[in-house]
């Protein structure tokens, strides 16, 4: 942890001299000697009294603590008494007692105050040392800047990362980040983003960038920091290397893609020979026909799974291109419902469609149908017999709002954050052995977002789930 050098350095040096051990004792003894010298030289013990020696006794006690301070104060009072006696001052017992008592109290008080101050400074130092150790030993590079982006404080990992990235050692943080733009994989995009960041004071942001030619990926986070009373303290910036995470993602995506490709060879012969066998279906007995039906259904499911896996890989590689044309989402929804109706009827789930003649939107009809199929088949799949599924389309902000609501089993609140993650399946689905791959919603979200739209849901266990998709007029 390091602090920016402060303009009050000279004052700081004076303070640190004063803090040196026994400096105050030295000053107090010198003052005491001079005051006493004046007292002796001018025969002033009665005129000055113990009060002239009191500040030095107090200083001495402050620096040396309660016990030594009390003794010092009594010694100072004695010094005065001896001097006064030598100068033939007339003193009664009360006068002497009051002076001794006051000096003793002064010594005790100052000594106690000094001790308290030193203890508090010590504990502050140890808290600061712990805090510094804490932020220096994290993996993330962390720093805090003022409202102008000037560095206030930074931790060791940040200084190490900044050096590795070749950032300059001076300038505001946005300036330092901009200075390394040419070393980043997409310099233009990075530069634009950093300029944008330098201008914002608002929300928290998260960005990832890759160091060109090295494959090293970094994730930067920045957010305003506020005191508990809401006043602006500064802006925090954190930097973390996520190369290993991204490498793991790449490996998983490559694996998913490979599986999707390799499954196609056996799937080709299974579905091909199945087609041929269907021509001979008439010659099969009742049970043979039933077996053939099961094989056909399972082959279709396997085919759908392989297609979903491929689509996920393509989405990850940003290789899905939309074929845009004016699309009637209400019409697509009605058709998707009709396609799903046999399955719903078989399960005893009632499906209703409400359409409010929403406007046409620019979209890819096939991809949006895929989204609708996913949402509607999910709604039917997770709703028990006697339940209802409602599919609604309406105008929204010049675009379309689509709602698919069910009265199904719902998603536990603790799992709702992961619903759109690839391969995630809710515990309510796995416990009841409802088949699925955990890809439908991940694909749906990616496709909706590619259309410039938004997908969200609300769900309650045992009550049902309502998914809302909004699509703008043009992506």
């Amino acid at each position: 942890m390091s602090l920016r050098s402060s303009p009050t350095t000279r004052l700081g040096a004076a303070v640190s001299l004063a803090r040196r051990r026994y400096f105050l004792t030295f000053v107090a003894l010198a003052g005491l000697a001079i005051t006493w010298g004046v007292m002796v030289a001018f025969d002033w013990s009665a005129r000055l009294g113990t009060i002239a020696l009191a500040p030095w006794a107090a200083l001495l006690a402050f620096d040396l603590g309660v016990a030594v301070g009390a003794l010092g104060a009594l010694a100072t009072a004695t010094l005065w008494l001896v001097t006064a006696n030598a100068q033939q001052a007339v003193l009664d017992g009360v006068q002497i007692g009051v002076r001794y008592g006051s000096m003793l109290l002064l010594g005790l008080g100052s000594g106690f105050a000094g001790q308290r101050l030193r203890e508090s400074a010590r504990s502050q130092r140890s808290v600061a040392a712990l805090q510094s150790a804490l932020i220096d030993s994290t993996l993330d590079g962390i720093c805090l800047t003022d409202e102008n982006g000037e560095l206030l404080i930074s931790n060791r990992p940040l200084r190490r990362l900044a050096a590795e990235l070749g950032m300059p050692a001076s300038g505001t943080v946005p300036e330092r980040l901009l200075a390394i733009a040419d070393a980043i994989a997409e310099p233009a995009r990075y530069r634009a983003r950093m300029q944008e960041l330098a201008g914002t004071t608002g929300d928290a942001t998260l960005d990832e960038f890759e160091l060109a030619g090295t494959g090293r990926v970094f994730r930067g986070y920045t957010s305003p920091v506020e005191a508990p009373d809401g006043s602006f303290v500064g802006r925090i910036w954190t930097l973390r290397e996520v190369t290993a995470d991204r490498e793991l993602d790449r490996m998983r995506d490559a694996f998913v893609a490979t599986v999707s490709h390799e499954l196609r060879t056996p799937l080709t012969s299974i579905s091909g020979f199945l087609e041929m066998m269907q021509e001979e279906e008439a010659s099969l007995g009742a049970s043979g026909k039933r077996y053939l039906d099961v094989i056909r259904r399972s082959t279709q499911r396997l085919h759908a799974l392989v297609e979903d896996l491929l689509l996920v890989a393509q989405i990850e590689a940003r290789r899905v291109e939309l074929q845009l044309a004016p699309v009637d989402v209400a019409d697509l929804a009605a058709r998707a419902v009709e396609a799903a109706r046999p399955a719903a009827d078989e399960k005893g789930v009632h499906v209703e469609v409400h359409r409010d003649h929403p406007p046409l939107v620019e979209g890819d009809g096939d991809r949006l149908t895929q989204v609708l199929d996913n949402l509607i088949s999910n709604a039917i799949k997770f709703t028990e017999a006697g339940g209802r599924v409602r599919v609604e389309t309406a105008e929204h902000d010049g675009g379309v709002k689509l709602v698919v609501a069910d009265t199904g089993i719902g998603i536990p609140a603790s799992e709702q954050g992961q619903v759109f993650s690839r391969f995630f399946r809710a515990s309510t689905a796995t416990q009841q052995a409802i088949p699925g791959t955990g890809l439908g919603l991940a694909i749906s979200r990616a496709l909706v977002e590619q259309h410039g739209g938004h997908i969200a849901f609300v769900s309650e266990i045992g009550k049902g789930t309502e998914v809302t998709v909004t699509l703008p007029a043009t992506p």
């Binding site: 490709h261 390799e262 196609r264 060879t265 056996p266 799937l267 080709t268 012969s269 299974i270 579905s271 091909g272 020979f273 087609e275 041929m276 085919h303 491929l310 393509q314 290789r319």
Partner: protein, 107 residues
């Protein structure tokens, strides 16, 4: 009778394609007998497909790709006239083959 050359690494899929081709009234031939064929049914993502394409050269018969990889993988050769992804329905293969062989001059 039109000859359709099949270059497919998997024995089961090869058998399926041979049957599909026969049922359409064409003669399936193996990659080794490349002469006098009207069309090639080929897996572009396989070694057998690659070596065959090299052997056929640029002015060989029209190639129909039937692949486990999507088109974006860039495996499609210059001689390709159609690209299908596995598993393709027999009807789709038939449609493409008929189309390709209909526009071919008789040998």
């Amino acid at each position: 009778m039109r000859r359709v050359l099949i270059a497919e690494p998997d024995a089961d899929v090869r058998e399926l394609l041979e049957l599909t081709v026969e049922r359409l009234g064409y003669e399936p031939v193996a990659a080794a007998e490349a002469a006098d064929v009207g069309a090639v049914l080929l897996e572009p993502g396989s070694a057998v497909g690659h070596s065959l394409l090299r052997r056929l050269g640029d002015d060989g018969p029209p190639v129909i790709c039937l692949s486990i990889y999507p088109r974006e993988h860039g495996l499609e050769p210059a001689q390709s006239v159609a690209y299908l992804m596995k598993p393709a329905a027999a009807a789709d293969i038939a449609e493409v083959l008929r189309g390709v062989l209909a526009v071919q001059p008789h040998h």
